[in-house]
């Protein structure tokens, strides 16, 4: 126990240690977190009128980001499946970064739901009268918390074993890994059911929402991991096998193709049928009654996704900068498509045919940025602590020094310190 506490304390202190780039990055994130807290305090005082939401468009930026981040969290499974089911070697050591990101993404998703509440101080009502299993939101609460705990356990256990220089006992984590695979799919399915179960919103009331969510998540999640592993390879001494990038690239390409196919299927059904139920899709893609705030967004998303897909299938994306560019494009594209492009149009027109458009306000945007910055802060700290442990430079009997950890332009890579 004492060793474990010491481990936590060492991790905590380690998170304050780094070179100037680390400090600059953390300082930037902290500034955004504080701006977000400030904006949220204003929202607490004046109510959700500080957002762009109205009775007509009653969910907006917060829920859009929530949806996107649940997908990002679920995407860790795209590393777990190859490793634990197909025995992929290159990805084996990288799984933990996917799981760490899942932890950060779930925390962000939960924060987005919390800031969307009108009465956050009544959160405990969930514990007192939990409308399970009737309300899909209660399912979401359960699966998100469960997924957070699963990932915390798996990551925490593996990292702590490395810290103690012990071989992890399979009994303590392999069953959880397999539960987490199913669980990851369930969190995004439940989130999709949150929307697709509403008969009053024809835009959401489609069976293809859940598969679409999963496909787009399995593209955006590994794409984000490609980016974060690139950062890891660039700034730390951690060795990322180049083949791992190629495996992830294949995953992203296939998931993105499926996602685009499902989007196409949805568009065909809406536009070929051309019924009154297609009004929201018309608004999204072409505008309705002269209102078209989302049209440029959704088309940029589609163009970004198509270009990214093309790049990923061409051999040119074997080069890391091209691969990174494609990943950025598809993350932005999917963020627009399943965030604002999925949540907002369902409210336009309203069930009574009124057209009120939605744009996030500055305050709402600051809260959103704050949560993103907070999530990245958590992820950075987790990775910051994990890398030295996994590479054996931070163990219960081993001291740690920065010079051996950060790959700095000022200092030549120091030889490994431990014996």
């Amino acid at each position: 126990m004492r060793t474990y506490l010491q481990f936590l304390i060492r991790c905590f202190r380690l998170s304050f240690v780094g070179d100037y780039r680390y400090y600059a990055w953390m300082f930037l994130l902290t500034v955004f977190v504080l701006l977000g807290i400030n904006a949220y305090c204003k929202q607490l005082v004046y109510g959700l009128a500080t957002t762009g939401m109205t009775d007509q468009v009653s969910w907006g930026f917060y829920i859009a980001n929530f949806t996107f981040l649940v997908g990002m969290a679920a995407a860790a499974v795209m590393l777990v499946i190859p490793v634990y089911i197909y025995r992929n070697r290159e990805l084996h050591d990288l799984v933990i970064f996917g799981e760490l990101f899942a932890v950060a993404a779930i925390i962000m998703a939960m924060l987005f739901v919390t800031v969307d509440l009108g009465r956050p101080e009544r959160f405990h009502h969930l514990l007192l009268r939990f409308n399970f299993p009737i309300s899909m939101l209660t399912w979401d609460v359960l699966v998100l918390n469960g997924y957070l705990l699963l990932n915390l356990h798996i990551c925490g256990y593996l990292v702590y074993c490395a810290y103690r220089r012990r071989q992890p006992s399979k009994l303590f984590y392999i069953p959880f890994v397999f539960v987490a695979i199913v669980w990851a799919i369930s969190i995004h399915t439940v989130t999709a059911f949150l929307y697709s179960g509403l008969g009053g919103r024809p835009f959401w009331n489609s069976a293809v929402v859940a598969p679409r969510f999963l496909a787009s998540a399995f593209a955006a999640g590994p794409a984000f991991l490609i980016l974060s592993l690139s950062v890891l390879a660039r700034f730390t001494t951690y060795q990322v096998p180049p083949k791992a990038f190629m495996t992830l690239r294949n995953t992203v390409a296939i998931a993105l193709s499926i996602s685009m196919f499902l989007l196409g299927s949805e568009m065909f059904t809406e536009f070929y049928t051309d019924s009154a139920h297609g009004a929201s899709a018309k608004y999204l893609f072409f505008g309705l009654h002269g209102r078209h705030a989302l049209v440029p967004w959704i088309w940029s998303a589609i163009v970004l996704n198509l270009v990214a897909m093309l790049l990923l299938y061409l051999p040119i994306s074997r080069r890391l900068p091209v691969l990174q560019a494609a990943c950025v494009m598809l993350i932005v594209g999917i963020w627009i498509e399943k965030g604002m492009g999925m949540i907002v149009p369902a409210f336009i027109p309203t069930p009574l045919g009124e057209i009120v458009e939605y744009l996030p306000t500055l305050n709402e945007t600051l809260v959103t940025l704050g949560i993103w910055a907070g999530g990245l802060l958590i992820y950075t700290i987790l990775v910051r602590v994990t890398v030295p442990v996994l590479t054996g430079r931070l163990t219960y009997d081993q001291e740690f020094s920065v010079a051996t950890d950060m790959r700095s332009p000022n200092v030549a890579a120091a030889p490994e310190a431990h014996s």
Binding site: K42, Y46, A49, T50, G52, T54, V356, E357, T361, L362
Partner: protein, 178 residues
């Protein structure tokens, strides 16, 4: 409606027969009225006073078979032509009920024909409408087509003016068709 109707002339309450038993109407056709000039008879085919008013006793109404009813029993008179409406009124599917929704309650009162309709011009007058919704931007009260009020006192407004000028140009629609 009181039965029979009263009017007050020089502070003295008068019944219909107070005049009509002294001055007899000269023309049954009644194309021009010398008195009761405020009455605008717009009742379609029914354009004779004595179709409804008893020519002998102006405090009674006349039915087609020659029987008379009091002013309190107007629905029986109207029912002679407006059969379907009368049927609906009796069932409660036409007209207005006040007081209570409980069918056997003493408080329940169903308005009779002439309490809503002017018997001489039963068609409803065009009605002045009240202001429309102004709920589009919560807290930000943009003048609506029906003249909503801009609320300068709202704390949100004060705050938004200080913090976020973009807010005021929020591209809301007023719902009007282009």
């Amino acid at each position: 409606m009181a039965d029979p109707p009263h009017i007050t002339i020089d502070g003295v309450p008068q019944n219909c027969n107070g005049c009509h038993q002294i001055f007899h109407s000269n023309s049954p056709a009644g194309a021009t009225l010398n008195y009761h000039q405020e009455i605008r008879l717009q009742h379609g085919l029914n354009n004779r006073c004595v179709n409804c008013h008893d020519s002998q006793n102006r405090e009674r109404l006349t039915l087609r078979d020659g029987a008379t009813v009091s002013f309190a029993e107007t629905p029986q008179l109207c029912a002679q032509c407006h059969g379907t409406v009368f049927r609906d009124w009796e069932r409660g599917t036409h007209g207005k009920t006040l007081g209570s929704w409980i069918t056997n309650s003493d408080a329940q009162r169903r308005l009779s024909c002439t309490e809503c309709h002017n018997p001489h011009a039963p068609r409803y007058e065009p009605y002045k409408l009240l202001s429309g919704p102004n709920t589009l931007r919560m807290g930000e009260q943009v003048a609506s087509p029906t003249g909503g009020v801009r609320d300068e006192q709202s704390p949100l407004q004060r705050w938004l003016r200080g913090i976020d000028p973009k807010q005021r140009d929020h591209p809301i629609t007023n719902g009007a068709r282009p």
